[in-house]
Amino acid sequence: VSARAGSTADEPGDRAVDAKARMRVQAPASRRRLTVVGRQELGPYRVLRLADPDGPVPQPGQFAMLAAVQEWGGGADERPYLPRAFSIARWRGGEADYLLEDVGPGTHRLCELQAGEEVWVLGPLGNGFALPDSGRRAILVGGGVGIAPLAILQDVLAQRQPTTDPSPNDSSTTPAEPSTTPADSSTTPAEPSTTPADSSTTPAEPSTTPADSSTTPAEPSTTPANPSTDDGFTVLLGFRDGARAEGAALLDGARVATDDGSVGHDGLVTDLLAEELDRGDAGAGAGQQPPTVYACGPAPMLEAVRALCTARQVPAQLALESGMACGFGACFGCVVPRRGGGYLRVCLDGPVIDAAMLDSVDAHAGAPA
């Protein structure tokens, strides 16, 4: 683990892209050939589980580049050619979960994969989320398939909780394995001194969804939902419709909004965020720190989150998506405009970027990926 504060900045004379050091676990400098060990349907989404016994334990918010070993190419318009970037949605015991939605030739091929098939994986890549300082509440805001990195973030935040939760202690399902990470870096004062035994707040497993696939290893489905608002973090998720809202099962204890009103709040997830932030303002005692917002989702959602948080002077960390060829700073293709001029490379300076670094979040996705 190394904390890097903008040392990769490419802007002339700029050595400090990011005021807050972020956690980066370095990847092996070669793609790994991994095997699919599970796939699960969550509405229209797929959870792809890969055995990655030798892979580094990622930090929440990091991503990987994925490509099927067989039949990568020759799809629609003779694509895909390049690997595709996906947030690491969960890490548990040498297995990584990725949340997919079939929106183009690359994601289509990955969604087809069955247990036993193989995937090229390069990662973990990028700078992940900086965990909140102790005493700061975290608000996790996700939209659509962008909820993925919030799941592993929730896993890690849950492990930081005091062990007052009555749920059974089952270390075999410990997510994200922070105890194996040299997370005692002095650059992350809020990093937990979490021990392996401190897993009593095990988050809900994906298997709590009714759409459970038989290829997914059985997990205890009796894990109680985490009470979210009173123990350090709140989860707000938005989806286009009721079918996609099944993706909310990836996280635990989420408040859900749907565009079509079929599940949860009838409206935008940012309505829920505004409500949370304004309630927090009203209820905050003197000296209480504002929450930190962690968001990932489509660009219009992230822009709304950025604007809401900026107006209220609430720090926000946005996990951005951008079309990229490489994932490790080589192609310079994934840039977003940086406040003050120039560009940030999403793969290298992000994907998690402080909202304060951006004037806005603009959508410029390409052809369906």
Binding site: T8, D10, E11, P12, G13, R24, Q26, A27, P28, A29, S30, R31, D77, E78, R79, P80, Y81, L82, P83, W120, L122, L125, G143, G144, V145, G146, G238, R240, R244, D259, L268, V269, G297, P298, P300, M301, A304, G323, A325, C326, G327, F328, G329, A330, C331, F332, G333, C334, V335, G342, Y343, R345, L348, A363, H364, A365, G366, A367, P368, A369
Partner: protein, 318 residues
């Protein structure tokens, strides 16, 4: 597998194509793992210009059939920033890689006039850390608008003017977007080049996808404005809009491999200079093909995007 290029001794014939591998960024991403099995026998920097450049506005990439169109726009810190910041960092990284000697650094530069190019070469001449210079001549001439490297007479004249500024090996990176690449290579030889490299990317274009195709991609998930779901009035959608922020870009990847083989063969047959061949190489077989038609070195570009260890894999297989 040891090869010699203009007096440089290289451990094997595989190098990187300029602008396809940022060593400083890769060190942040991979650290020690990159240094223990470094993919390239020499490292070629991205293009350095006299003044800093932010690069082109996004979008910068388009995945095409078996390839990639990029419109990056040569972002770099400018000559002064390169010399002050990147050159020391690259030198330190490369010194830690070579098993016997450090991996040589080739600095790629581009200027739009002979005076600019001369200034860039002169600066490289003074820095011992730079083993050789690669000159990117895919730059429009300020008076004619034509790429310097696309016009043999202009290329020859420019090279003759700037060549005295550099005693180190000078590699000229030819453009494939010309009527007769072998004639350009010959002009480079006559102008004083010590080697030529090719092919650069082929000029290419992509149009923005229709709103129907876009909706499933960039509006994935939820939480967008409901107005986006309202049907658009028929005929309101603009058509023929270039996708890339730079309007056109350069095509790379396996799609251009047969073109590269033809151009490398034509150039190697015409000139007596060493040739660095590149274009869509994904395997040792592809690299061997370029060597077989006369290349001395082979550069890996887009394949490194798919796997940063591609160069090492290809070198091992030769």
């Amino acid at each position: 597998l040891t090869v010699h290029l203009c007096g440089l001794e290289l451990a094997h014939p595989i190098v990187n194509a300029s602008g396809t591998f940022d060593l400083i960024a890769a060190d942040a991403a991979f650290g020690e793992s990159l240094r223990t099995d470094f993919p390239f026998a020499a490292f070629v920097s991205k293009t350095i210009t006299l003044e800093p450049r932010h690069g082109n506005p996004p979008p910068r990439l388009w995945e095409s059939p078996a390839g990639l169109i990029n419109s990056i726009g040569l972002p770099n810190k400018g000559l002064a920033g390169y010399l002050a910041e990147d050159l020391p960092a690259l030198t330190a990284l490369l010194a830690g890689i070579g098993t016997h000697a450090p991996v040589p650094l080739i600095t790629n530069v581009m200027g739009s006039t002979a005076a600019e190019i001369g200034q860039l070469l002169g600066a490289c001449e003074e820095r011992a850390e730079i083993a050789a210079v690669e000159l990117n001549v895919s730059c429009p001439n300020v008076s004619t608008g034509l790429d310097i490297g696309a016009d043999p007479a202009l290329l020859r004249a420019v090279l003759r003017e700037v060549r005295p500024a550099l005693s180190k090996p000078l590699i000229v990176k030819l453009t494939p977007n010309t009527a007769d690449v072998a004639a350009c290579a010959q002009a480079a030889e006559e102008g004083g080049a010590d080697a030529v490299s090719l092919i650069n990317t082929l000029r290419a274009m992509a149009l923005a996808p229709s709103a129907g195709a876009r909706s499933s991609a960039d509006l994935r998930g939820a939480a967008r404005s409901r107005a986006d779901t309202a049907p658009r009035p028929a005929g309101s959608e603009p058509v023929g809009v270039p996708w890339l922020g730079g309007t056109t870009g350069g095509l790379s990847g396996p799609a251009i491999r047969p073109v590269a083989l033809a151009q490398v063969a034509a150039v190697a047959a015409r000139v007596s200079l060493p040739v660095i061949g590149m274009g869509g190489v994904q395997s040792s077989r592809h690299a061997q093909d370029l060597l077989d038609v006369g290349a001395t070195l082979v550069a890996i570009g887009s394949e490194s995007f798919r796997d940063p260890a591609a160069g090492a894999r290809i070198a091992r297989g030769l």
